[in-house]
């Protein structure tokens, strides 16, 4: 039974990996393909007023590093600032780098830091289900809906 359960977990991890792959292609399983997927603006809301997000029009460092169009406006309901960006270069790698830059910008402006993971000093060992999981989680820090 233990082997059956372990196999089921490996299958579940593989399923997570497949879902991850599908999402990395900007398409949810079963959803209609978005013809604008590669050109959509990536948006994030920062809990700071626009004047603090880009003082004197200067973009914060993580965003200034990437080659992207950027626009911003006050968020409704006193929620801070909405920042929208899209890469000038086409391709998923450019969007991945931009996604990371937006998240880091938000964290730096709100908390003054970007939180690092305990995974940097790992306690784990390599296993077969773990390898499947690694495939699934390999882009966990930089992927997602954003």
């Amino acid at each position: 039974m233990k082997r059956l359960v372990a196999g089921a977990v490996a299958l579940a991890a593989a399923g997570l990996g497949a879902a991850w792959w599908a999402a990395s292609r900007r398409r949810m399983p079963g959803a209609a393909k978005d013809p604008l997927a590669s050109s959509r603006w990536l948006g994030i809301t920062i809990n700071r007023p626009p004047g603090e997000v880009a003082p004197d029009g200067h973009l914060p460092e993580p965003l200034a590093r990437v080659d992207a169009e950027v626009r911003m406006n006050s968020a409704p309901g006193d929620r801070g600032t909405e920042i929208y960006a899209r890469p000038r270069m086409r391709g998923e790698d450019s969007r991945t780098a931009l996604r990371t830059a937006l998240r880091e910008t938000k964290s730096l402006l709100e908390t003054g830091d970007v939180l690092r993971s305990d995974e940097e000093i790992g306690t784990t060992r390599t296993t077969l289900p773990g390898k499947v999981l690694d495939m699934a989680l390999g882009r966990a820090s930089e992927g997602g809906r954003l």
Binding site: K106, T111, E120, I121, L137, G143, R145
Partner: protein, 391 residues
């Protein structure tokens, strides 16, 4: 240092792992004094949350002593006795500022997983898989606490360690269920599950003014403990038709507020127990929502249900028709502990809230695998096993 590590489905072992270090300037390192098992760990242990790697340190409910702080920690210093919230908040994003700490937008370094699974990034949690940030857990000699100014709380003089321990998770989770479930003076409240969280939810409902609280479980020792320590009514669902009993005790209305404190591995009786059991084993259904279904059917028209038990994905046969046509309100959340912990520590200091009795079995960290075995199978009346790494 020593730590209790997940090695695979239903496999735990105590291992030597590298000590945690300050990685961010707002971190603190806490020397763990006591760390307890939680029912939600069983979902990790059983492989129901498939984002665990062999060697991951588990545990999320703990107290300890601060031994080191980063240069940007301002509210704490080494030597302080603290309780740490199991859910990590940054304290400054919109969600944290609005006391929705488990929705923190900056505390999960792997945001893509929950973003994909649930359509939004959720907070990091200690020892709760790589979906929740891959943070090391608290069943260890030391643990790194990110954003320590917001997540560690100094324990007041006069509050015992074993009371404060449950201010980390069980007590604030229970309190949240009662408060956000909308418990008001005069209400009748039903609580599914008499584990640590369910008992704390029942106690919170009474403290918030509920006229009657009725707790439901199947283990006689847990029902007896709840009746004795919480001071509420109880129902054994293996010998009683819960819905009929609740109708009879509430003038036919049903409870005003129903709190589900069971989660994805809910047990039950009859056909749905078999149905959900088979579907979950075959991974055709991730979670068994038996208690949620029962709560929706039992709740009075226009009442509310709060889901405290942990669910990870999809459920089958969800009674959306009853929810809609009875005009019910359904809410749920991982705990927003930072919102409640100071108040709960005050209540503990005054003697109005006691939780230490939940710690039925205290042992060394070396006995971690044994403790989880007792906890999982409810052996010897185990409600919570508590590990003391330095005892």
């Amino acid at each position: 240092m020593k730590a209790l590590c997940w090695q695979g489905v239903n496999e735990l072992s105590v291992e030597r792992v590298p000590d945690p270090v300050i990685l961010n300037a707002q971190d603190a390192i806490v020397k763990v004094k006591a760390s307890t098992t939680c029912g939600s760990d069983l979902h990790l242990l059983g492989g129901y949350i498939p984002a665990m790697r062999a060697g991951d340190v588990i545990g999320h409910e703990f107290i300890g002593e601060i031994v080191e702080v980063g240069p940007e920690v301002n509210r704490h210093k080494p030597g302080e006795r603290v309780v740490v919230c199991s859910v990590i908040g940054c304290g400054r994003c919109w969600a944290c500022r609005h006391d929705q700490w488990s929705l923190c937008e900056n505390s999960n370094p792997s945001p893509g997983i929950t973003d994909l699974m649930w359509g939004g990034t959720t907070a990091g949690i200690f020892g709760y898989s790589h979906a929740m940030g891959g943070f090391r857990g608290s069943h260890a000699e030391y643990v790194r606490v990110p954003f320590a100014d917001y997540n560690a709380f100094t324990i007041p003089e006069g509050v015992f360690d074993l009371d404060a321990l449950f201010a980390s998770d069980a007590a604030p989770t229970g309190w949240m269920g009662a408060e956000l479930g909308g418990v008001k003076p005069g209400d009748v409240v039903a609580v599914w599950g008499c584990g640590g969280v369910g008992q704390m939810a029942a106690r919170a409902a009474l403290l918030l003014g509920a006229e009657r609280v009725i707790a439901i479980d199947r283990y006689p020792e847990r029902l007896a403990m709840t009746a004795r320590h919480v001071g509420c009514e109880v129902i054994d669902y293996t010998t009683t038709d819960v819905a009929a009993e609740l109708r009879e005790r509430t003038g036919g209305r049903g409870p005003d507020v129903c709190i589900e404190a069971v989660g994805m591995e809910a047990d039950g009786t009859g056909v749905q127990r078999v149905y959900d059991g088979i579907k979950q084993r075959l991974r055709l259904e991730q979670d068994r929502p038996i208690a949620v279904r029962e709560a929706i059917h039992a709740c009075r028209k226009g009442g509310s249900i709060f889901v405290l038990g942990v669910f990870s994905g999809f459920v089958d046969k969800f009674p959306l028709g009853a929810l809609m046509n009875k005009g019910l309100t359904l809410r749920g959340a991982q705990q927003h502990g930072q919102r409640y912990i100071p108040k709960l520590l005050d209540l503990m200091a005054k003697g109005d809230l006691k939780a230490a009795y939940l710690a039925t079995h205290t042992m060394s960290l070396d006995d971690g695998p044994k403790g989880y075995d007792m906890f999982k199978h409810k052996r010897d009346g185990c409600v919570r096993a508590v590990f003391c790494p330095w005892a």
